[in-house]
């Protein structure tokens, strides 16, 4: 049995929120004091601020803007920095955070407003690496290939990636001076190359990973796997894709096929 020790119940929760009205505008920290409620999480605190947008010193303010949708940690929307660590706000329970909670937006993505950022680059990376099984069409062509329960298990785990951005936020190689696409998209290449039909187009995806923004950008800091809320073995994916791209590059060199990023 894993029962977490609850912290002593505070009368109030202090929420310190970094706010910014839009890109390029000055940022500020606003402090809110909310009555303690059982089962509260960061989301329900932010909802309470919507119902009563007044800071701790009694100044009326605007409701905090943040991204969220499912509140069950399957949609990936509500990623933010909570008490200095990157995570989903919905599973950030006040009882486990203590009486003071600081909220900041992700720092590796363009800011939209307050705690909301633009993670479009992650979806663009999925386009770059062709993260799909190419199909002839959605008409009836019977069942797909049979698969072993063992293969299903590892592929399912990779497939639970919700594009939340934790791995990019934590990665020292994702920064202004690097084009590295981050662990999430690399891991999707491993997923689609592992699927029997997806594997038919394996080389295309590997070649995409050989570009400047690809797997060579990884600096092996291993932060990604630490922060992944779904426990996806991202470092295993990175290592495997590193190996596979090398093999692909050699194959391409032997066959004289042009590979981006590999000088022949």
């Amino acid at each position: 049995m894993t029962k977490r020790e609850p912290m002593p119940v505070p009368a109030h929760v202090e929420l310190r929120v970094r706010r910014q009205d839009g890109p390029g505008l000055p940022s500020r920290v606003e402090v809110f004091r909310l009555p303690y409620r059982p089962n509260a999480n960061v989301i329900s605190c932010l909802q309470e601020i919507q119902r009563s947008p007044v800071t701790a010193d009694g100044t009326p303010t605007t409701p905090v803007v943040w991204d969220c949708s499912c509140l069950e940690e399957v949609c990936g929307a509500c990623t933010m920095i909570v008490n200095g660590g990157v995570r989903q706000a919905c599973t950030a329970l006040i009882d486990q955070l203590g009486g003071t909670v600081t909220l900041e937006p992700l720092s590796k993505f363009p800011l939209v407003r307050d705690l909301m950022v633009d993670r479009q680059r992650m979806f663009e990376a999925l386009k770059r690496v062709r993260a799909w099984v190419p199909m002839d069409g959605s008409h009836d062509l019977g069942p797909g290939p049979r698969q072993s329960p063992r293969d299903q298990e590892w592929m399912y785990q990779l497939s639970t990636c919700m594009t939340c951005g934790c791995c990019l936020e934590a990665c020292p190689q994702v920064n202004e001076n690097s084009a590295f696409m981050g662990a999430a998209a690399v891991s999707q290449v491993r997923l689609f190359n592992g699927h029997p039909t997806g594997a038919l187009h394996k080389a295309e995806r590997l070649r995409a990973l050989m570009s400047e923004d690809g797997v060579q950008g990884c600096g092996k800091a291993q932060n990604c796997v630490e922060v992944c809320p779904k426990g996806i073995p991202l470092t295993t994916s990175l290592a495997e894709m590193f190996r596979e791209t090398t093999v692909q590059a050699i194959k391409d060199w032997v066959r004289r096929e042009p590979s981006p990023g590999v000088r022949t």
Partner: protein, 625 residues
């Protein structure tokens, strides 16, 4: 002249399947979504997707799926679309398989199937316990491919505001709000499909995502589309209450053997069945005792009512609270992790207790709307759906609807694992129907009168300038909170006419107060307060449809339970053996086995009823043992 574009509003399963079908036919599609489509509410579906693939040697067949679905919905679902859906289901599961959905497998490498509520067959394919997420991702990937190829444009973080209607009342496009810039823009289309999901937020805390306000469907209703069966609201038996929402604990937990119980208080017999109760403190598996055949897998409306009865009437909830146990602890932990990991993880993260070793505490929560925009279908003499521009067409020409925002497939109660299926099947019909509409007589958007677009655009620009200036004394989120409590109290499990009348008055009062809100935020970027003030008005209109529909329907059917009008039960174990009961049941059915149709008027919804044709299956008393 180049053919125009098509618009799909909503990027969940139904929306993306509609997009896929249009793109595959070479059509250009604009998809509008409040969130990046990959974050749509379909991700929340946990348990699986139904299809009578019959790989378990149990003699399952699409016809049995049809019967389970129609009976589960108490014969209010439209029969030809249900038949079409159940027959298409195995092919849809295979299609998803080909897209790379990581369905759980049998040792021989086939897709595994598990049991779900309202059926006795293993009919539900699943990917761990995050099947909806996995299905949505597969569709998202396929649509992304078409996006790269240039057929699909995504407008993410855009909100649908309303239709562009021409002088004949046909839909020629939409007006949408770019939440990033708060600018309003009009978009022409050959045809528009709403795939905007359910209205969970109307009930305050529900199992739905926060984006599920029902605002888009409500606005289409206000602009003239008929709304059907609004009063049929599914309350799922098993959820865990949180401060911000109710979190679903999938029916698949029971499908894999989970047992519902409360500690017995030692009374000698169950007042409902007259059966002996276990000694005080011992587990009383009341669903298994009351329904020996279906046990813990009775349909959701039945399960929810039993849990309510045991907690509220018998006072047997755990510690006197609104809670019962859902017990998985007799199943090997490694099996649980493999088949149900995703949902058990949610419980552990939010409750701090590992449900593989400690029974979960659950209680019913608002989950799904069977009702939605009325949509049409076309079937041949045998009740088989045929390709037609009428399929999934709303009562507004050129406007289509697919998924939870439409009413066709689930009648008075939806069976578990039929929702993902109905979304995908609806998309498979809606896409081609839109293309046929444009080809056969729909008016080209290119020739649309500019005046109609100008009018619509002006209306919404004025509306949002008006909202920006609102400096009244009410807080919009508080009004929504009060609406949620009101709807949960009056329009969920047990309904009473006196309460419903009061609720309608209270909704009117909230509507008046909503006219005096403070917008709280004058910002011109990502101003979610302004967007919400607009949504709130639509939510209140939809609340009236639900409450009024519930008030006028004086019977019990599926999720709609009004004890003051319950038929006295049969005196025999099988209702068909009691001629007196059968006569009462028949008379009541003739009066009430009808689709509720709501039409908007500024004074409140006007409610009418329409016969449900039965070309496939003759109704019989709904009975589970």
């Amino acid at each position: 002249m180049a053919e125009g574009r098509y618009i799909v509003v909503g990027g969940g399963l139904a929306g993306l399947m509609t997009v896929l079908k249009l793109a595959e036919a070479g059509k250009r599609v604009d998809v509008f979504s409040l969130v990046p489509v990959k974050r749509s509410h379909s991700v929340c579906a946990q348990g699986g997707i139904n299809g009578a693939v019959n790989t378990k040697g149990q003699g399952d067949h699409p016809d049995i799926h049809v019967k389970d679905t129609l009976k589960g919905g108490d014969y209010l679902a439209e029969q030809p679309p249900v038949k079409g859906m159940c027959y298409a289901a195995p092919g849809i599961i295979y299609l998803l398989d080909r897209m790379g959905v990581t369905f759980n497998r049998t040792p021989e490498g086939f897709i595994d199937f598990r049991r779900f509520g309202g059926t006795l067959h293993h009919r539900t394919a699943f990917a761990g316990a995050t099947t909806g997420q996995q299905l949505l991702y597969a569709l998202d990937e396929q649509v992304r491919r078409h996006e790269v190829e240039g057929l699909v444009r995504k407008f993410e973080q855009w909100e649908y505001l309303g239709n562009v209607l021409d002088d004949d009342g046909a839909c020629r496009g939409i007006v949408a709000l770019d939440l990033r810039s708060m600018e309003v823009q009009a978009f022409p289309a050959e045809a528009v499909c709403l795939a905007t999901g359910g209205p969970g937020v109307l009930f305050g805390r529900s199992t739905n995502s926060v984006i599920n306000t029902g605002s888009a469907a409500a606005r289409a209703f206000v602009e003239g589309a008929l709304y059907a069966n609004g009063e049929f609201v599914q309350v799922h038996p098993s959820a865990i209450p949180g401060d911000d929402k109710l979190r679903l604990m999938s029916e698949s937990l029971r499908g894999e053997g989970g047992r519902i119980w409360v500690p017995s208080d030692g009374r000698p017999t169950d007042p409902v069945t007259g059966k002996r109760m276990p000694p005080r403190g011992e587990p009383w598996y009341f669903l298994e005792e009351r329904y020996p055949h279906y046990g813990n897998l009775v349909p959701r409306d039945v399960g929810t009512r039993e849990i309510f009865q045991v907690c509220r009437e018998m006072g047997l909830g755990i510690g006197g609270r609104d809670a019962v146990y859902l017990d998985m602890t007799h199943i090997p932990p490694e099996v649980l992790t493999r088949k149900l990991g995703g949902v058990l993880e949610i419980y552990e993260k939010f409750r701090g207790v590992d449900p593989r070793f400690v029974p979960m505490e659950i209680f019913p929560g608002m989950h799904y709307s069977m009702g939605g925009l009325w949509v049409d279908y076309e079937a041949d003499a045998r009740g088989s759906i045929v390709p037609s521009p009428r399929n999934h067409a709303t009562s507004v020409p050129g406007l289509y609807a697919a998924g939870e925002c439409e009413y066709q497939y689930h009648g008075a109660n939806r069976l578990g694992a039929n929702s993902l299926l109905s979304c995908l099947y609806a998309g498979q019909l809606a896409g081609p129907a839109m293309a046929l509409y444009a080809r056969n007589g729909g008016k080209s958007a290119a020739a649309a009168p500019q005046a109609a677009f100008g009018r619509a655009l002006l209306h919404w620009k004025d509306r949002f300038e008006g909202i920006r200036g609102m400096g009244g004394k009410e807080n919009p989120w508080r009004i929504a909170g009060e609406l949620g409590e009101l709807m949960t109290e009056s329009c969920t499990v047990v309904r009473e006419n006196a309460k419903l009348r009061k609720a309608l008055d209270a909704i009117d009062a909230l509507s008046t107060r909503a006219g005096d809100v403070n917008v709280l935020d004058p910002g011109r970027a990502m101003n979610l307060s302004m967007a919400f003030v607009n949504q709130l008005r639509n939510m209140l209109e939809l609340a009236k449809v639900i409450a009024r529909g519930a008030l006028l329907r004086d019977e019990c059917r599926g999720s709609h339970d009004k004890p003051e009008f319950a038929l006295p039960g049969p005196s025999t174990a099988n209702p068909k053996d009691d001629p007196g009961f059968m006569a009462r049941w028949k008379a009541s059915g003739e009066r009430w086995r009808k689709t509720t149709l709501a039409r908007y008027t500024p004074q409140g919804p006007e409610i009418g009823y329409r016969e449900v044709p039965t070309p496939i299956l003759e109704p019989e008393p709904r009975h589970y043992d």
